[in-house]
């Protein structure tokens, strides 16, 4: 056995380093750490570990500004997923992660493996996945390419989630031409564990076996992390081989086998093989424990013959996990994985050398000190340029070209507001038997915890057009809306995961968007006691120099003590309607402005975080007191769209009262002022009195009826059935209409 790796010829190494995405100064650091030229395998390891995707080298300095602590936070960012205490000795484990680049190249597999990867991040910590959500952005819906990507992504998410038996309970979808070449597929998984039985990735114990379980390793996804760290160009189709192939059946077996092994105390540490596969899992686990690690690649289960060390270390084959077991527990663990018909192999040992040493066919292929691989990793404080603040649009300066009823009919049918039923109908939202509020039933999905009365409230939110106009206000609004949606079902918001999707960070205006969005998010997290416990960053979402809208997608988790406390948004007849929160008629960046007036301009609605918290706490208290029959927040489309959504959900109607004097009607009905809720209650008077006492703005908005029409203050009537028909027709016509 040779005990030193064979360095590449130095000119060849420098050339390959550039091909693998290492900048010249980064490559110089590699040479300094090793004291020689790297071998091919070593160069592969450095390039993926230092890729934007794995190292967060452009984003880390900013992400540090986010609040990550609260008394209920068990594990913040830095592990496979975040962990919070949710009462009764239980923990919620969750994270959201992007699979944007692969989903453009190969929509079905890109989206499917995105779901598979985030599921593994959660069950690797000992939590049984109980819910999936997603946040999707697509290009112009009129383009055939957009329809093809949307179709593939939805089939991929469904194909994977339905098969593993985890319900897909919520999500959001936006369309905008800025996503034409860069769709966003952000997948979130939430799992439940016992708070005292969380599994971490920190490897300890010299001599402890390193165990590979799951599917075999093939040549798929090699350098996927590098691909995800670069812009697209016209030849991106050629990157198809870097996309991984998912097998949800193997994932289901892997979940069950891991859950069974986790019932024992055999595991020291465990991590899934996600981006950069065997490389990142072995380097991160050993690094976190301050250990060394030796791997013998001859023992790795392989799907193809003749794989090199480089290929095995860089493969992103799916449905694989790496574990450190306690000594002598291998046989017990192997029995479980064999029962589930999965591969199991001891592929190495922990050492005290502080190095990763890779052996293959009698040769040492890599020998790298772990500490500098992490500590010397590039970290950039890239130049930022602030997005200029757009002027506030005066609502009085925008005439109403079509009138209220016509605008409402068009808005409820526009791609950003139309029914998502065509999508939900392809996702199994009920498997598990705990889904109390499924998609469309409430502002947040509500999933009960098996054998408990307690339930989780889950949502994903972001309004990219606000973020593009003012990234700081947009970042703030994304967090506030997640908090609001959880509040609107009656739940207490606890924590978020963030998925930061931006363009090329080497451009100051993009880095400026990122920094400002983080600033806004941090302010909202702090004001609402809503810390970030996990997250993911996806940069370089650009094609031929055109970036996406800045999209900091937020996944929020809240808790209800009893599932029966949850309220939905469907409007019952015979109620009084109350609007909570202040309405100033903010039309800047509203959907009305874009869809009806044909303008995308102005400052987005500001979020008053003190008012947000006060209004939300008031609404939640009324819901928990049992005084609220239905509740819906006012977001995209404003107040009248919110009322229409409540009516369409039940078929009931409403008679609405005149807006306050001094506000143009279209600004009152379609303005997107923040921090507002529509409540349906048996009697408005006690609610209004309580609001006055609490200093919360609230006004009677009207009453609901069994008639199935929205009656405006001027007497004009809009049929709820025809609104619903228009609302439901858009996506099927787009996707099935040919």
């Amino acid at each position: 056995m040779t005990d030193a790796p064979s360095p590449l010829p130095s000119d060849r190494a420098a050339q390959l380093a550039a091909e693998f995405g290492l900048k010249p100064d980064e490559y110089e650091r590699v040479l300094a750490i090793l004291g020689r030229a790297p071998s091919l395998t070593e160069l592969g390891i450095f390039s993926v570990m230092w890729s934007e995707h794995c190292s967060y080298k452009s984003s880390r300095v900013w992400l540090r500004e986010l609040p990550t602590k609260a008394p209920w936070v068990i594990q913040g960012p830095g592990e496979n997923a975040g962990v919070i205490a949710i009462g009764e000795g239980l923990a919620a484990v969750f994270k959201m992660e992007s699979h944007n680049h692969p989903s453009f190249i190969e929509p079905y597999q890109g989206a499917a493996t995105g779901v598979g990867g985030i599921l593994r991040d959660v069950f690797t910590m000992g939590a049984r996945p109980v819910a999936n959500l997603n946040a999707l952005r697509f290009g112009d819906p009129k383009l055939p390419l957009t329809r093809r990507i949307l179709d593939g992504v939805v089939r991929g998410i469904g194909g994977y989630g339905n098969c593993v038996g985890v319900p897909t309970v919520g999500g959001e979808v936006n369309f905008h031409p800025a996503y034409n070449g860069n769709p966003l597929v952000n997948a979130m998984t939430v799992g439940i564990a016992r708070a005292d039985r969380i599994f971490y990735a920190r490897a300890t114990g010299v001599g402890n076996p390193v165990v590979y379980v799951g599917s075999k390793t093939g040549r798929d996804g090699i350098h996927g992390a590098t691909m995800a760290s670069a812009e697209f160009s016209a030849d991106s189709e050629e990157k198809r081989p870097t996309v991984q192939i998912g097998d949800p059946f193997s994932e289901k077996l892997l979940i069950e086998a891991c859950m069974e092994l986790m019932e024992t105390d055999a595991i020291v540490a465990i991590q899934d093989m996600g981006a950069a596969g065997l490389t990142s899992s072995s380097v991160e686990m050993a690094g976190k424990g301050g250990m060394g690690i030796e791997l013998d690649l001859d023992a790795v289960p392989q799907r193809e013959s003749g794989m090199t060390a480089y290929e095995m270390m860089l493969s992103e084959s799916q449905e694989r996990m790496l574990m450190i077991l306690k000594p002598g527990r291998e046989a017990e663990a192997e029995r479980i994985f064999r029962k589930w018909e999965l591969d199991f192999a001891v592929i190495g040992r922990l050492t005290d050398s502080g190095r990763i040493v890779i052996r293959h066919q009698g040769r040492v292929e890599a020998d790298i000190p772990l500490a500098p691989l992490e500590s010397e990793a590039p970290l950039y404080r890239r130049p930022t340029a602030e997005t200029p603040k757009p002027p506030v649009l005066d609502a009085a300066s925008v005439p109403d070209p079509v009138g209220i009823p016509a605008a409402l009919e068009r808005l409820v049918a526009c791609p950003d507001l139309c029914s998502r039923r065509w999508i939900w109908d392809q996702y199994d939202s009920m498997v598990g038997g705990q889904t109390a509020k499924r998609p469309g039933a409430a502002d947040a999905a509500v999933v009960r915890i098996e054998d408990h009365a307690r339930a989780l409230a889950l949502t994903t939110d972001c309004t990219p057009r606000y973020c593009a106009a003012d990234p700081e206000e947009g970042g703030k609004q994304a967090v506030a809306e997640a908090w609001r949606n959880i509040t609107a079902v009656g739940a207490t918001p606890l924590a978020i995961t963030d998925n930061m999707n931006f363009g090329n960070p080497e451009k100051p205006e993009i880095m400026g968007q990122f920094a400002a969005a983080v600033r806004g998010m941090a302010a909202a997290c702090a004001a609402l006691d809503f810390p970030v416990v996990s997250g993911n960053v996806s940069l370089y979402n650009e094609t031929e120099g055109r970036a996406i809208l800045p999209t900091p997608a937020i996944g929020g988790v809240g808790v209800l003590e009893r599932v029966t406390q949850a309220v939905g948004l469907a409007l019952p007849p015979g109620c009084e309607l109350v609007l909570v929160g202040e309405t100033r008629g903010w039309l800047g960046q509203s959907l009305w402005l874009r869809e009806i007036a044909g303008r995308e301009e102005g400052a987005p609605p500001p979020v008053d975080l003190a008012a947000e918290r006060r209004n939300g706490e008031f609404v939640r208290a009324r819901i928990l007191a049992g005084a609220v029959r239905a509740c819906h927040d006012c977001s995209d489309g404003g107040l009248l769209v919110a009322v229409a959504e409540m009516a369409m959900a039940s078929g009931a109607g409403a008679v609405l009262e005149a807006p306050p004097a001094g506000l143009p009607p279209h600004a009152f009905w379609f303005g997107e002022d923040q921090g507002r809720y529509v409540l349906a209650v048996a009697e408005a008077a006690p609610l209004l009195a309580a609001a006055r006492a609490a200093g919360v703005p609230a006004a009677r908005l009207g009453r609901s009826t069994a008639e199935g029409a929205l009656v405006l203050p001027d007497g004009r009537s809009i049929s709820v059935a025809s609104l619903r028909a228009a609302h439901e027709a858009t996506l099927p016509a787009l996707m099935e209409g040919g």
Binding site: G158, Q426, M430, T564
Partner: protein, 232 residues
């Protein structure tokens, strides 16, 4: 009632089914791994739950139908035991030849996850005696291959012998094309074996058994079994 749920690699609604049986009977069912060669003594009901056994690779249910335990299930049925197959379980029963016909891709060629309504075609079997005659109930369906198919002679025989268990209908009880989302022959959602002791159906009544979650429309099916199979 002593019930067992057979778990194949890829079964994923076994927990839902266990909750439903527990709610109806007060007893937790046994979970049986597919590699077992025998069913436990004194068993009253064997359940094949929903999911994607063997990943639905090859054909839905085709590989599970050849699992070691299916020989025992077939013998159990031949001795007069009761068997319930839901969704992938129905597909397995058809693949195993224990029920006639086959489940094809949905007519839309898409996975369908939504509520449907079913009409109980006879309420005198061990599976339906708690339903009033002609009852219509709501259930979740979640499948890609639920389009029931059999040749005309088989369909005529099923109808003639009263072996159609459930049909997709409107909430008002009419078997219209609109109510038949997956395109099943004659709106058939579920069928019986000749001795009425094996039942297969595509939708998931086990997801409608809890008033706190999504109502109790499906509960009478499990209560019927509990009433009928009181022996144990």
């Amino acid at each position: 009632m002593k019930a067992a749920i057979i778990v194949f690699p890829g079964t994923n609604r076994e927990r839902d089914m266990a909750l439903a049986l527990h709610r109806a009977t007060g007893r937790r069912p046994l979970m049986l791994w597919h590699a077992e060669a025998a069913l436990p003594r004194g068993l009253d009901l064997a359940v094949l739950a929903g999911g994607f056994s063997y990943g639905d690779y090859l054909r839905c249910g085709a590989m599970a139908a050849h699992s070691p335990i299916m020989r025992a299930v077939r013998e159990f049925a031949a001795r007069g035991g009761h068997v319930l197959g839901v969704c992938n379980g129905f597909q397995i029963l058809c693949e195993a030849g224990m029920l006639p016909g086959a489940l094809l891709r949905n007519a839309s060629l898409r996975f369908l996850s939504m509520d449907c309504h079913m009409r109980v075609e006879r309420s005198d079997t061990a599976f339906t005696r708690r339903f009033p005659p002609g009852a219509v109930f709501r259930a979740t369906m979640a499948h890609g291959d639920g389009n029931y198919f059999a040749d005309t002679a088989t369909l005529d025989r099923l109808e003639g012998e009263g072996l159609v268990a459930l049909r997709y209908v409107t909430p008002a009880g009419e078997a219209t094309p609109e109510a038949n989302r997956n395109g099943a022959a004659r709106n058939i959602a579920g069928i019986y074996s000749e001795n009425l002791r094996v039942m297969g159906l595509m939708p998931h009544p086990e997801n409608q058994v809890d008033p706190e979650i999504d109502g109790t429309d499906g509960l009478p099916l499990f209560q019927s079994l509990a009433d009928s199979l009181v022996a144990a």
